[in-house]
């Protein structure tokens, strides 16, 4: 059974068709990329997958379960978690608390238990904190755990978003431009991290990225979206040489060499 399967998904905003009849399937352990020019509908697809929007038409299945129309927190608890293109951390909470918040959604201590500080509460509290610290260690953020999230450098904020997403124990991780604003050194580390997450956690990963070095370097399968429609799908090598993709990115009269330059 595929982890994620989109069938003929369409999303309209009034007269604008943001996502037009998209079908996509991800198997467990896939590391796939979603690319396309600005406004192609990539982030809208993420918003559909995480329940921010409900699709106008079509069906979205996660592990064989229909998730379109469910609330965002329900989908997150099923095991679909994301990071955001324009970072959305909890700015005034500490780095540790950002991750603890996400890790806490598995605990069912409840309001009464929390207020009375029962033994169950203490145990849950300890587990959540331990898990959060472990994840911060994994992403080399543990030395910053008491810092407010807003004070972190850009690259660290991106990694904190990944740590926070992992704390929800996802099966499917959606990364929205994880390398945006990173220098080559940082994006190199990020690529290694993404592969490691897939291998160690057994995650299925779908990422949106404009940095072609990252997309071509890390993704095993790439879908190209233009005006809400998928125009090509294949391995990085296929995509790089696909005339439709070159046309979409560079216009029809430009040569293939130009894409190579951009890709390099």
């Amino acid at each position: 059974m595929p982890v994620l399967s989109l069938q003929n998904v369409t999303k309209r905003f009034g007269g604008l068709v943001a996502v037009n009849n998209v079908s996509l399937t991800l198997e467990k352990g896939d590391l796939a990329g979603l690319i396309g020019p600005n406004g192609a509908g990539k982030t809208t697809i993420f918003n559909l997958l995480t329940g921010v929007y409900a699709p106008t038409e079509g069906s979205i299945q996660f592990n064989g379960q229909e998730i379109s129309g469910r609330k965002p927190h329900q989908i997150a608890r099923l095991g679909v978690c994301r990071t955001f293109q324009n970072i959305r951390l909890f700015p005034d909470l500490s780095v540790l608390d950002n991750v603890r918040t996400a890790a806490s959604t598995h605990e069912q201590t409840g309001l009464i238990g929390t207020v009375l500080r029962t033994a169950r509460f203490a145990r849950a509290e300890g587990e959540v904190t331990a898990e959060a610290k472990r994840l911060l260690g994994l992403l080399n953020l543990n030395h910053l755990e008491n810092e407010d999230a807003r004070n972190l450098p850009y690259g660290d904020q991106r990694r904190l978003e990944i740590a926070r997403a992992l704390a929800t124990r996802p099966e499917l991780l959606l990364l929205d431009e994880p390398a945006a604003g990173m220098n080559p050194q940082e994006s190199g580390d990020l690529m290694r991290l993404i592969r490691r997450l897939r291998d160690e956690f057994g995650l299925t990963i779908l990422l949106i990225e404009h940095d072609m070095t990252v997309v071509m370097g890390v993704c095993e399968e790439i879908t190209v979206l233009v005006y809400g429609q998928p125009i090509a799908r294949g391995t990085p090598a296929d995509i790089r040489n696909d005339p439709r993709v070159i046309e979409a990115y560079l216009g029809s009269e430009d040569s293939e060499a130009a894409l190579e330059t951009e890709a390099a």
Binding site: F90, L93, L111, V115, E125
Partner: protein, 363 residues
């Protein structure tokens, strides 16, 4: 859990409150005692509003409406329950009139507090569930409207005195009993502060804060933001209702105008002034803003008395210019920070009913 330490802390707190109650009610001048009592009630209101406005970031400005619900529900219970449920209630439950009066009044007071709180909580749930879908200004307008609806509803309910207010004189000779002693007010202060603090420094509380920080991100991390907001609203309304019950049995008279939107704004001012989200800030601001007008009244002298409200307003403006984030911002005043490491602390060490060290690793 019922650890020995917890039992000891609770009994010590009760003992200290009883002692203070006995001591203060005999020694303090009537005016000073009144300020102490009204400050305590204001603290319960401000700290409970902070649960909604400060923790989850939902801007509610109808908090006095919940206080009104609690006040009227509790007062109606003791007045109509007189001789029927509670036997012959004493006119006064304050300690100077003997310990007996306090003990006789205690069951009625506990029932009144619960009735006020639960009634307000139910109303909070009914109001909160649909209106918490709205954000920011829109929610503020709904809560403002709710406060007004309560006022108008009360004015048209003859059973609780209608527009004349309610002193209980519905059945001849029976008034709202003076049951609110120092003990009950400050017991409720301790409870609301401890509940807030236990929530604030827990992972459950982090979910509340995450709604304030970024609701969309909170949802994406699996936080049921609707439930969190409704929980905070109901909990805040509960304690506002408790404060209403205290107020009714202290003043022995409630009127629809004492819970208007001007009063609601007083509580919002307290929470903002103390620092949105700061429990100790709310406590301090509630005390200062309740005591300040009284202190100005006595210190400015008769001829300047009329400028009292001007001075009050100027002080507020000044404070907001100097510290727009509020007195404590989002942080807390902690005794262990002030005096090295020693026990948990809030104002006057009130929130030291603590078993877990969870708070020490947080701010």
């Amino acid at each position: 859990m019922l650890s020995l330490r917890r039992i000891l802390t609770v009994s010590a707190t009760l003992g200290i409150l009883l002692f203070l109650s006995f001591f203060l009610e005999q020694r303090l001048q009537a005016v000073a005692f009144r300020v102490v009592m009204l400050s305590g009630i204001a603290v319960v209101m401000a700290v409970s509003l902070n649960l909604i406005n400060g923790f989850t970031g939902q801007f509610s400005i109808g908090h006095a409406g919940f206080q009104a619900v609690g006040a009227y529900a509790a007062a109606a219970l003791t007045v109509y329950g007189h001789n029927r449920i509670f036997g012959n209630l004493p006119r006064s439950g304050q300690l100077p009139d003997t310990l007996q009066g306090f003990l006789l009044g205690a069951p009625a007071m506990i029932c009144a507090l619960l009735a006020g709180g639960l009634f307000a909580a139910v109303v909070g749930y009914v109001v909160g569930l649909p209106s918490l879908r709205l954000k920011g200004d829109y929610l503020a307008i709904v809560t403002l409207g709710f406060g007004e609806i309560i006022r108008v509803a009360v004015e048209n309910t003859e059973a609780v005195g209608g527009p004349r207010g309610f002193t209980g004189n519905i059945r001849e000779g029976i008034y709202i009993p003076n049951l609110t002693s120092f003990f009950w007010v400050y017991l409720m202060v301790v409870v609301v502060v401890v509940v807030s603090r236990n929530l604030r420094f827990s992972v459950q509380g982090l979910q509340y804060l995450s709604v304030r920080e970024d609701e969309i991100a909170a949802q994406a991390m699996g936080v049921n933001t609707t439930r969190v907001k409704v929980n905070a609203f109901v909990l805040g309304a509960f304690f506002a209702g408790v404060a209403g019950a205290l107020y009714a049995h202290f003043e022995q008279s409630v009127s629809p105008t004492s819970f208007g939107f001007v009063r609601s704004f007083d509580f919002v001012t307290m929470v903002v002034l103390g620092g949105l989200g700061s429990i100790t800030g709310s406590v301090l601001a509630a005390v200062v803003l309740t005591a300040l007008p009284e202190i100005l009244r006595s210190s400015l002298g008769a001829e300047f008395n009329q400028y009292r409200l001007v001075a009050y307003a100027l002080l507020l403006i000044l404070l907001m210019l100097v510290r727009p984030q509020g007195i404590f911002g989002r942080g807390e005043l902690r005794l262990d920070r002030l005096f090295g490491r020693k026990g948990g602390g809030g104002p006057a060490g009130r929130d030291n009913v603590e078993d877990q060290p969870a708070a020490t690793e947080l701010r």
